[in-house]
């Protein structure tokens, strides 16, 4: 037999028991050729183009899923940041485009489409300002459209005007979707150093330097890593890293295979594999549980940052050997609402916003799916975003904030979104005033780190 009995059982066990799946197969589509002076023409062009290219996306992904016996949790679409090809529109016209995106996403059968986005780290164009103004309404009146705005980069510094504007939009989005627990905010990400080929919703978009189309893959697999760590037992750190690397290698290889097959069948370019470990609310499919399995009483305990750093680094090392093209975020995700272990840690008072922030300096993304009291001020949210951006620009890494100031909710309450978005306990935020700092406005200059030439 060309394979060992155990090897085959290992793969079967990973997929059947340990929740190993491909987290997302995201089809990136450029909309740069859909520009026109008339918004109705633009909407028609967008609708036609996405329908034409993505028509079979979901079916093909399902076929590949059956063929290899590995589930693909999400089939999604990312488009060119809408503010770039369509820079001449007003707020209401952008809302119209968002509604078109929503319609076409429904038509081709994807649950989310990313790219209602703007890149404003150094300043706004007129169109970008209008688009950002349109975000709350666009998210409230659509179901499937996701929005992201990049407000900082290592090369440009932090655009504090954008940070302040975005914190207002986050609050407004929360208000407009109040009856659904402010779910609008779960579809809105504020970024620093955003990657252009990220397959993960809500921050996905098809960057301007991307080809006409590209298929990007996001792997999953915290459950598989957790099991491997448990089986390894009480080994030293070198051995622990080795164990994680091996698992990461295997799951990334599977991701690469699935990505190439789907891309081939769709006749589009294969882009990258994003080697992020992405948790789901399913029991055992949790980054928090991995940290616990490494020997800490709970995530949030001193040592959590070191544990996460080790995990993240070992996953990258194993994953980068397994795929020809690694990209996107490629680090571990630590969203609160989507990880049963994280939720427990917050509820038990073991994990605070501050510790979470520290942990974001050694993993991808940042403060992700954090619910805070509805009365948290705009300035406080702006300050939280600024902190994350600072971690991003100084360490030359991606950071992001997806924060939900849940309307009318207080610390200790829960907001439930169902499905992969999970449910989030409202976390405490320090009520210290930040106004005089964030409202200075302007741009925090690029760090010395940007001078690499």
């Amino acid at each position: 037999m060309p394979y060992q009995f155990e090897e085959i059982l290992e793969t079967v066990r990973m997929t059947a028991v340990e929740h190993f799946d491909i987290r997302t197969v995201t089809l990136g589509i450029s909309l740069r050729d859909c520009a026109d002076r008339d918004v109705n023409v633009v909407c028609q062009k967008i609708y036609d183009k996405i329908t034409r290219i993505a028509e079979n996306h979901v079916n093909i992904a399902k076929e590949v899923e059956t063929r290899f016996g590995i589930a693909i949790a999400n089939k999604r679409i990312a488009v060119t940041p809408i503010s770039i090809p369509f820079d001449n529109f007003t707020r209401d016209e952008y809302v119209k485009i968002a509604k078109t995106l929503d319609r076409v996403a429904e038509k081709v059968g994807v649950d989310f489409l990313g790219g209602f986005s703007a890149l404003v780290q150094k300043g706004f164009t007129n169109g970008e300002k209008e688009l950002i103004q349109a975000i709350p309404q666009a998210l409230a009146e659509t179901k499937r459209v996701c929005s992201s705005v990049n407000v900082a980069s290592t090369r440009a510094g932090i655009n504090m005007d954008a940070v302040n504007l975005m914190s207002r939009q986050v609050k407004e989005t929360a208000r407009l979707s109040a009856k659904d627990n402010s779910i609008g905010c779960a579809k809105l990400v504020v970024f620093c150093n955003v990657p252009e080929d990220n397959p993960f919703i809500a921050g996905a978009f098809h960057g301007v330097s991307e080809p006409e189309t590209a298929l990007n893959i996001g792997i999953s697999g915290p459950g598989v890593v957790l099991q491997a760590i448990k089986e390894a037992g009480n080994v030293d750190f070198g051995q622990l890293a080795e164990t994680i690397k091996k698992v990461a290698f295997k799951i990334t290889r599977a991701g690469e295979l699935i990505g190439r097959k789907v891309a081939e069948a769709l006749n589009v370019n294969f882009g990258i594999v994003d080697i992020s470990l992405a948790p789901t609310p399913a029991e055992g499919d949790s980054i928090a549980d991995i940290i616990q399995a490494m020997g800490l009483e709970s995530v949030g305990a001193p040592g959590s940052t070191a544990a996460l750093a080790l995990l993240n680094d070992a996953v990258k090392k194993g994953g980068s050997m397994a795929s020809s093209y690694v990209g996107g975020m490629s680090g571990s995700f630590i969203p609160v609402s989507e990880d049963a272990g994280m939720i427990r840690a917050v509820q038990n008072g073991n994990l605070s916003l501050e510790k979470l922030e520290a942990m974001t300096s050694v993993c991808s993304v940042g403060l992700d799916m954090i619910a805070v009291p509805g009365d948290t001020s705009e300035e406080t949210i702006a300050a939280i975003i600024a902190d994350e951006c600072a971690i991003g620009i100084i360490n030359d890494k991606t950071t992001a904030v997806r924060i939900i100031p849940a309307y009318n909710k207080k610390v200790g309450e829960m907001v439930d979104y169902g499905g992969l978005l999970g449910s989030a306990p409202i976390m405490e935020v320090r009520k210290l005033k930040t106004n005089n700092f964030v409202l200075r406005g302007g741009r925090i200059p690029a760090p010395i780190r940007s001078l690499t030439n």
Partner: protein, 141 residues
């Protein structure tokens, strides 16, 4: 770059023929290396390995008479070639792995998958049907 096992076998046989009576393990190894290298640099191989046309069927459940026969009947009826079969039984619990060539099968992968799933339900066992590539990608470099 990938080179399939069958291609290596083919090159080895070719080398043995060429060496004739002079063949020693060292000489053969050298000749095969040369041939593999030549094939790779000639660009005879694409970056993607060719679809092997094989699937791996893993089934497990409570042991009972007729499990192997039920599954193999379905395969035989549809012209699928069982190339390898391994089985382990632990008390009443069995695990069986089959490697099956479906390149000459009368029906598609999806149909084989559905038929086997139905059979498994009838005899109350679990079955997984997966294309071989996923194992090759995960366990072979």
């Amino acid at each position: 770059m990938n080179i399939s096992e069958s291609k290596i076998r083919e090159l080895t046989i070719e080398a043995i023929k060429e060496l004739g009576e002079n063949v020693t393990p060292e000489k053969l190894r050298e000749a095969v290396y040369k041939k593999v290298e030549a094939s790779l640099t000639n660009g005879n191989f694409t970056q993607e390995p060719k679809d092997s046309g094989r699937i791996i069927i893993t089934s497990y459940g409570m042991n009972q008479p007729g499990v192997v026969s039920k599954i193999s009947t379905v395969l035989a009826e549809n012209n699928c070639d069982i190339q390898d079969i391994t089985q382990k039984i632990l008390q009443e619990f069995f695990t069986m792995i089959m490697i099956v060539d479906i390149s000459n099968a009368k029906i598609s992968f999806k149909e084989i998958h559905d038929l086997l799933t139905k059979t498994a339900e009838e005899i109350n066992i679990k079955i997984m049907v997966q294309h071989e590539d996923v194992f090759r990608y995960m366990h072979r470099i």
